[in-house]
């Protein structure tokens, strides 16, 4: 709500237009109905409306701030009407004083102003209502515009995260390398090639049908991790070792689909691929009160692979956690004495398959 209505040309035009119409109309009516000369009438009209124009600019701030960011019509209008009443009183006083001071050349005009003060105040009040509604209308329009902007920004964030999640699930490097392995196996051991194609298909089926918000059970997620690790094992052979410890109580733990996969992929990339020795990836789940902590760790060679900064993969997981749980800090990582550990803390909730 940083906009001041004067910055909006359209509303400024409305406001000035309102002033022009009022001023001309008032002058013509006065000239027609009263016997005073045009000069005092013009002075009267101009002094009254110009003062009105500036004093009532301040009403905008009342509309803008009254009731905080509330858009509830009654709340806001009540406080603005009270303010408008005060402003009308101030305006009536100031304009009449100014007219009395400037009307010394036209004897009797000062008295005429005082006599008609109640009519002036009434007209001021009518105008105040119109101005108030104009401001309120403008406030509503800009409020809605900003709400729409915020909403579209949020939508965009969701879409971007989903897109990235999809990209992340399908690391092209992993797929091309797997296909290269399969190509080799078709010559050396065709039955193994067939087996690997099935694994890769299972993995892709799981990875491709998901969107960023979908949930699954820990058991399902780990089943898919196992496919993934078996595919990688064809590439890396004995170098890749893994141990997945699953507490039977946690089989049905609800978690976002494909949330563990990038963590395992990291472990393969930094633990197994960069090592010339056999390297083990461990998965452990620990229950603590209403929370479950999932730990994925791998050994890495700190001489050749420094932990520098977190990659897009981790950022992407955090974005998804932010969307689903409203908290990206559920994921933390640390590299300590050659062991890299990613720890994911989730609320202990059961997953129920959607029918």
């Amino acid at each position: 709500m940083k906009e001041f209505f004067l910055n909006d040309k359209k509303f400024l035009a409305y406001y000035i237009g309102l002033w022009l119409i009022t001023t001309t109309g008032l002058f013509l009516v006065l000239k027609k109905t009263l016997s005073w000369d045009y000069l005092p009438l013009l002075a009267d009209t101009l002094i009254s409306t110009v003062l009105f124009f500036f004093i009532f600019l301040s009403l905008w701030y009342v509309v803008r701030f009254a009731g905080g960011y509330s858009v509830q019509m009654p709340d806001k209008l009540l406080s603005t009407f009270i303010a408008a009443g005060v402003l009308v009183a101030i305006w009536a006083y100031l304009s009449s004083q100014a007219l009395i001071l400037s009307s010394s050349e036209w004897p009797g005009y000062g008295q005429f102003v005082l006599d008609t003060l109640w009519i002036r105040a009434l007209m001021g009040a009518v105008l105040a209502v119109i101005v108030n509604l104009l401001f309120y209308n403008f406030y509503l329009i800009s409020f809605n515009r900003q709400a729409a902007e915020r909403e579209s920004q949020l939508k965009e964030l969701v879409q971007r995260t989903e897109l990235q999640a999809l990209k992340n699930q399908l690391n092209p490097h992993f797929i091309y390398n797997s296909l290269n392995s399969i190509s080799s196996l078709t010559i050396t051991t065709p039955e193994k090639a067939r087996e690997m194609i099935i694994r890769l298909s299972d993995f892709l089926r799981y990875a491709l049908k998901q969107d960023a918000m979908q949930m699954t059970s820990l058991e399902k997620e780990l089943e898919n991790i196992e496919y993934y690790l078996q595919i990688e094992k064809v590439r890396f052979g004995e170098k890749l070792r893994y141990r997945l410890e699953i507490n039977p109580l946690l089989k049905n733990l609800a978690l976002p689909v494909m949330i563990l996969q990038p963590l395992f992929e990291n472990a393969v990339k930094h633990g197994v691929q960069k090592s010339s020795e056999p390297s083990e990836i461990r998965f452990v789940a620990a229950i603590r009160d209403q929370e479950v902590t999932l730990l994925i760790s791998n050994v890495f060679d700190s001489k050749f692979d420094r932990f520098r900064s977190e990659g897009v993969g981790l950022e992407n997981i955090r974005n998804r956690l932010r969307l689903i749980y409203g908290n990206g800090k559920l994921l933390s990582v640390k590299a300590d004495e050659g062991v890299f550990t990613a720890s994911l803390t989730l609320p202990k909730t059961e997953y129920h398959e959607e029918v």
Partner: protein, 268 residues
């Protein structure tokens, strides 16, 4: 194949038994197997050894001095480019890179005619690449200019170096970019100083000036590239010359223009 050899080099008729030595340097067993199967079609190429990482590869190149190497880029410990840094220039073989889709690798090759094979490797592309390599070997090309160019642009096209692989004596050192204090030009070599060690490497200062992130590194003298964090203080030395004292106690010359650039960087 024989038809190709005749076409490529008529002189080959006189010496059809000439064999070229080759190595496969690749960490994944199935990928190695595939290359081996494809190589069977080329009797002119003798496969001497298969290596599973960059260190083995560098050693095997020094030992066998092969004519042709099939080199994977992503490998344990040091990558394919870094492995080539460990090879003496006179031993540099012709290289055919093998890589899965990878932005930095692709960028390297887009601008160069050097050959590379994308995984999954097609038999046809393999034949083309090897034919090209054989043609080059037949022509007696031992110079590997396109390779050197590719290595250069691989780094330029990708990102700044985050580490330097160095050979010293028998050992190999991996120096992280943030551990480099300064690099000094010394004829054909550069002297790389870290907090505790110094290493000589056969490269030009310009090479590192282009490849180290200028956010952290600044050339302060025609012979010195320095890491800004490593500077402890700068003091005047003589008219138009200054000395920078580094955190490891080393003093290096700073020229007048180097000094004014430092002033700008540090805002003093």
């Amino acid at each position: 194949m024989r038809a190709f050899l005749r076409q490529a080099s008529p002189s080959q008729k006189l010496n059809t038994m000439k064999k070229y030595k080759a190595l496969i340097i690749e960490d994944e067993q199935p990928a190695r197997d595939l290359l081996k199967v494809f190589l069977k079609d080329f009797p002119a190429i003798e496969l001497l050894e298969e290596c599973t990482d960059g260190f083995e590869g560098a050693k095997a190149i020094a030992k066998h001095k092969p004519d042709l190497v099939f080199l994977d880029i992503q490998m344990p410990r040091i990558n394919g480019f870094e492995m080539l840094e460990l090879v003496d220039e006179e031993n540099l073989p012709l290289v055919i890179f093998t890589t899965a889709f990878d932005q930095f690798a692709l960028k390297a090759f887009e601008v160069n005619a050097l050959d590379y094979l994308l995984k999954p490797v097609s038999a046809e592309r393999f034949r083309q690449a090897v034919a090209k390599a054989l043609q080059a070997l037949e022509a007696g090309s031992t110079k590997n200019e396109s390779l050197l160019k590719a290595m250069d642009s691989a780094i330029i096209g990708g990102k700044f170096l985050d580490r330097i692989v160095l050979r010293s004596g028998e050992g190999v050192h991996v120096v992280a970019e943030e551990d480099i204090y300064c690099i000094e030009a010394q004829d054909d070599y550069v002297l790389i100083s870290t907090s505790g060690d110094e290493f000589l490497k056969k490269r030009t200062l310009k090479y590192f000036e282009e490849r180290l992130d200028p956010t952290y590194f600044q050339k302060v003298h025609r012979s010195f590239l320095v890491r800004l964090d490593a500077i402890q203080k700068v003091e005047p030395y003589s008219k138009d010359a200054y000395l920078a004292i580094l955190k490891n106690g080393r003093k290096i010359s700073v020229s007048k223009s180097g000094y004014s650039e430092l002033r700008q960087r540090f805002d003093f």
